[in-house]
Symmetry: C2
Amino acid sequence: MGFAAVCPRPRNAAATRTAILEAASKRFAAESYEQVGMRDIARDVGVDPALISRYFGSKEELFRAVLDDCDGQELMDGDRSTFGERMADDLVYGPAKDEDLAWLLIMLKSAGSPKAAEIVQQLSVECFYQPFTEWLGGKDAPIRARVLAGILMGIAVGRDLSGGMKLSPEECERMKALLAPMLQELVDG
Amino acid sequence: MGFAAVCPRPRNAAATRTAILEAASKRFAAESYEQVGMRDIARDVGVDPALISRYFGSKEELFRAVLDDCDGQELMDGDRSTFGERMADDLVYGPAKDEDLAWLLIMLKSAGSPKAAEIVQQLSVECFYQPFTEWLGGKDAPIRARVLAGILMGIAVGRDLSGGMKLSPEECERMKALLAPMLQELVDG
DNA sequence: CACGGTTGTCAACAGGTGGTGACATCGTCA
DNA sequence: TGACGATGTCACCACCTGTTGACAACCGTG
């Protein structure tokens, strides 16, 4: 981002590749698949759009690479018994803390794009749902995983959309208090 | 939808207008704002794309008109005490029953589109959240409304996306059994 | 019938998209 | 140094999008 203006980017293919992946990940987590343009990502990295096509072949393959790259591991890091608390905090006080939710946000924002949705369908199970389900364990784990993922996505999107209905700090705490036990109960089974 | 091939559509401005609104509503509920093209809607109605621009001025204004047209009333129809059951059923066995969720789905699918999101932010409060909050009533109604709307959206999008993880009929019932009391509890407060 | 307004169609445009091949520039190794 | 592969840039293409103005068909009214 303006980096290219300072110095012409060291000729390092691997670094550039991961920089592209990182920028793309952020973009795809914030906007829908079609909304994100190659030119946007290229500008973020400080590189020519053509380079992205060269490295990844096409926008679809770039998207696939992004999804391949980030598993949902962040969700499962940390203490199980505080999952509800942590996630409720992320959801209420995001989007500053949205790195944890990258996978979910990307899935979410790309729901309305046939191409992207198909790719997500292909990858989400083995890269996200399956590990998450195993991590959950216990009775009806697959169902609880789906419900949990759904709730996290839904509250996140609700936060984006209801900008006209800002919550006071006190209400934020109330919302956290409402969400945390709900999520925790789903983890505990 | 092939209708134009059969007969050249009666010259009735009002009917055509509402037909366009209806088709647009369905499209916007199924795909994201950018993904839906004027030409798609026009084809659905059996009309020339130019006519839509003529009637509504622009795609943005069409979107606004769609949102103006459909309030979230369907959610609030029916017995309060069976809300959880009803919605859980809609969510698990959709998208056949998604008419009830039109507002939510449109909000959801357009989350990744700056233009559409702005419009949603403008309209969602007075057209959706406010009436829904009043209908809910009780303690922390605004928060419960947001959480409820979020969950409904999230589970709906989860269903779209996890196509690779189909649930058995029995699992569907389990999911319903998991969701229904959760939603009902949020309604009851 | 002829006129005028309404309803709809057609062709076209400007802008933006992802993708491609030719070219420039750097680092490295003989 | 000179040459070669790797890395990145540029101009450009075909395609698609929303939108517009000129045109055609229809209907009710005089």
